[in-house]
Amino acid sequence: MSGSLFRPLKALGTLFEAPITLPMAPRPAAERYRGFHLNDHNKCIGCGTCSRICDNAAIRMVHDPELRADPVKGIRAERPAIDYGRCCWCALCVDACPTGSLSLSREYIHISENLDTFFFVPDEQGMHGFGFEHGWDKGDDNDLLAHQRQPMAEVGTEERLGDMREIVLGFDPQAALVEASRCIQCGLCHDACPTHMHAPEYIRAVWEGDFDEAVRQIYRTMPFGSVCGRVCTHRCESACSLHHRGDPIAIRWLKRYALDQLSPERVGQIASEGRTREKSGRRIAIIGSGPAGLTTAYDLAREGHTVVVYEAQTEPGGMMRYGIPEYRLPRDKLDQDIDIIRAQGVEIRTGIRVGEQVTLEGLATEYDAVVVAIGLHQGRSTRIPGSDHPAVMRAVDLLRTVWSGADFEVPRSATVIGGGNVAMDAARTLARLQRRCFGEVQVHLCALEAEEGMLADREEIHEAREEGIRINPSRGPRRCMVEEGQLTGLETVACLSIFDDTGRFHPRYDEEDARTHPAELIVEAVGQMADIALLPKSIVEQLEWERGRLKVDNDGATALPWLWAAGDMVEGPDVVHAVAAGHRVASSIHRSLQNNRGLTT
């Protein structure tokens, strides 16, 4: 073979072709080009996922105090800053961004001798403020996050109505693993949680299969893990960064799962780790054994103080035992949490009502500090005509009666007034009792709010309907109908609006649109208050009050140096807030005792 000497000359033909050389001006890049970063600061929540997925440690979060921070909504005052001395333009940060705020532009030229210009905080205007078009964006096809929550197995409607068994079955190991693996460890849940639980840490531990570590992380801030793993209002999940494009992580169920994996003994051992063995010689009395009181007791006992809890009811737990239905919180799980608290050296004296068997003044002399954590056990009334009838009950009283096992005559028909979670608890408890006694459910629920505005959780409303409860939104109660001394029903009118223009509670009704709901029993679930009868008048006068609520500082300290208050009576009804308050009070008392302040006389 020798090849041709002349054929190559054919290439001279290209002399007459148009040149392929491009003009010197930079071409526009392709539509999904991966150029410099853009970040929509209104969408960005500062979760830092981009900085964790970055393989080159090229993204660092910067804190700007002028940005809006809202832990409850899961927004941090942080934004990513990109180091173009590290970036490789792989766009994993875009694909992993939970909000879709981050994208890459079609801008690709940056030339400088100043190294500092290679580190910048991207916004919508691009690297040089020209506002380049978006290139590699968050599409439907390149989202790397797992957005679907693992389904939670539940007992079917028919079976669950029959008894008080727990509805939620809990994750199986595979579902828990997958659910835990969805977590991107941003920690927004930690910020949002009232007691700042170490959720990313325990979720990671669940993913790693290290349940000891998971429980250890839970007990760092939460002595009611089993309870909160079931009934927490889970503000963490509303703040979860995954909720922007999908379902938030089932943080609450994972907590429950972690605790259910270990034997109560093992949980107790882990909870007792790090407890002080030395006795401080100080004594603290706590009135009320709800989540706030027992959390305070738990913390103080671990610090070596002698703690005695006084409980008026026959068993400890407060609202957790006498308010929350058993189908949401099995009592053995509650007992497990309380047993572990007891094991820290907390003494709980049940059946003792302060103000009757003992007095607050007596406690004040006997103990170094006293905590009032009596919750909100007194129901409010609608005060409509006929509401003084004996068959008109407050929801808290109804629930206490049922869950304490006292005698209770189940009504064939009942109507609940209220649209919150307590109303749902009452209605669903009644439904179960009716089903057991009569085989059928006849419960009405009348809420002032429209369906969207109802305060109860969506799943509660959904499940209540499944269980045969008739939910009537936008109905205002007018009177309880009594015939021959017997309660027969509730008359309601349509509610047009609840608040006036200034935002005050001032409902307007359409009096023409009246309806009657049959009821042998009417339950009022329109709010609760604290039963402060135990406080002697002399002390009430020394304390500060604000709109009927006891005024305390951030640490729960009252105007009296030896008295603290915590829990629902201060913060409103919520278990996790009560736990958070318990921690604050405990550390405040501990500090005071160390400084020799706050001693009773």
């Binding site: 054919k10 290439a11 393989d55 080159n56 890459l104 096809d141 797992a146 693996s181 993913w207």
Partner: protein, 380 residues
């Protein structure tokens, strides 16, 4: 150096002398060095010196999450990065038992063959330059650029695509992409006769490449030579056909062979492979027009992604030969060990050293380019 300080050099009393090629030398492909012992202008012995492009990839991959490594792998071989992504992804899929959706498999074949085309066009340019045919180099590079434009449309980047991810690919084709790619393929096909005129049939190339760097089949097998270089010695071995992966079993293509085993034969094999790649690509484009479906299997959150313990050895036919990844997982979120076996590791060291012996000094560059040795693949 200041002229005052120039020193005179005393040669040893021998007819042989040593000459350093590279790392800064236009006849060397990439950043690589050769130390030649010469008698006159004939190479007596040659020693390769690598490591100039060593970045410690295998170590770095052990430090990064499974997903993060997709950004690292294409950088192991710059002119032909896609087979790196494919081989890594397939090894992870083998370990993790991931099922790649059909459409994603076709998309992967699309980018693999596009990458082969770019690499071969680049090779034509590079090989031509070593024999002084610069026009051809200009052509090869600018035709390759058309394909890079297609890559940019599809993957958002010209050279480092980071497109294939374990479980599938990162994005679907943008609207109109298949049509514009078809146009480019037609263009490339139309260019081949011109390449024939200017390059393959050029007396300069034919005379200089014929008989240069010749190896027979036994030598090639002994030295672990693979890919087009092996096929140029007459052995029809191609992993796409013999160990089919993705959908290669479902497309029609021929395994191109030559028998001479010299630099010219190697060039001709690659010319034939360009035609076969075009053939495959057209079939893939047809499939992509009809095969629907997801482009990725469901994957867990990339930050918490563990691959079951085990090991996998996956191989891909890259434009240069047999590319293999050996990956060991200990069940954690990062690889325990990744071993990259690049075809150039065989071609650029022992084979090159042996083939250059007896060659003339001006052919050393041509031999290296005709083997399509890729130094970053050697150094990792």
């Amino acid at each position: 150096m200041h002229p005052d300080h120039y020193r005179h050099t005393e040669l040893p009393p021998s007819t042989e002398y040593e000459l350093y090629f590279g790392p800064n030398h236009p006849g060397i492909e990439g950043n690589y060095a050769l130390k030649a012992r010469l008698a006159g202008d004939t190479v007596v012995a040659l020693e390769a010196d690598g490591g100039y492009l060593h970045r410690g990839f295998e170590k770095l991959m052990e430090q990064r999450l499974w997903i993060q490594n997709i950004a690292l792998v294409p950088r192991i071989c710059v002119p032909d990065p896609v087979p790196m992504e494919e081989t890594y992804a397939r090894a992870v899929e083998t370990l993790g038992g991931l099922e790649v959706p059909e459409r994603a498999q076709w998309l992967r074949m699309l980018v693999l063959e596009m990458s082969r085309l770019t690499a071969h066009l680049f090779y034509f340019g590079g090989h031509a330059a070593t024999v002084g045919l610069y026009t051809n180099m200009f052509w090869g590079v600018s035709d390759r650029d058309r394909l890079l434009d297609c890559f940019e449309q599809l993957t958002g980047a010209r050279v480092y695509h980071m497109y294939i991810t374990p479980g599938g690919v990162r994005r679907d084709t943008p609207p109109g992409f298949l049509d514009s790619l078809s146009e480019v393929l037609d263009y490339v096909e139309g260019r081949l006769p011109k390449f024939d005129d200017l390059f393959f049939d050029n007396a300069v190339l034919v005379r200089r490449a014929t008989g240069t760097g010749t190896m027979d089949q036994a030598f090639a097998i002994d030295y672990g030579v693979t890919g087009p270089n092996l096929r140029a010695t007459g052995l029809a071995h191609d992993l796409r056909r013999d160990y089919p992966y993705l959908k290669y079993a479902e497309v029609e293509f021929d395994v191109i062979t030559e028998t001479a085993g010299d630099a010219y034969a190697r060039t001709l094999v690659r010319r034939g492979e360009v035609i076969e790649s075009l053939r495959i690509l057209r079939q893939v484009i047809d499939k992509l027009r009809s095969v629907p479906g997801p482009i990725r299997c469901p994957l867990p959150n990339p930050l918490a992604w563990r691959i079951p313990a085990g090991d996998a050895y996956t191989r891909t036919e890259s434009s240069k030969g047999e590319l293999a990844y050996y990956i060991v997982s200990d069940g954690s979120a990062k690889p325990w060990r990744v071993h990259v076996r690049g075809p150039s590791q065989m071609h650029a060291v022992q084979t090159l050293e042996a083939l250059c012996v007896g060659a003339r000094i001006e052919d050393v560059a041509q031999i290296m380019f005709s083997l399509d040795a890729c130094p970053p693949e050697v150094d990792r």
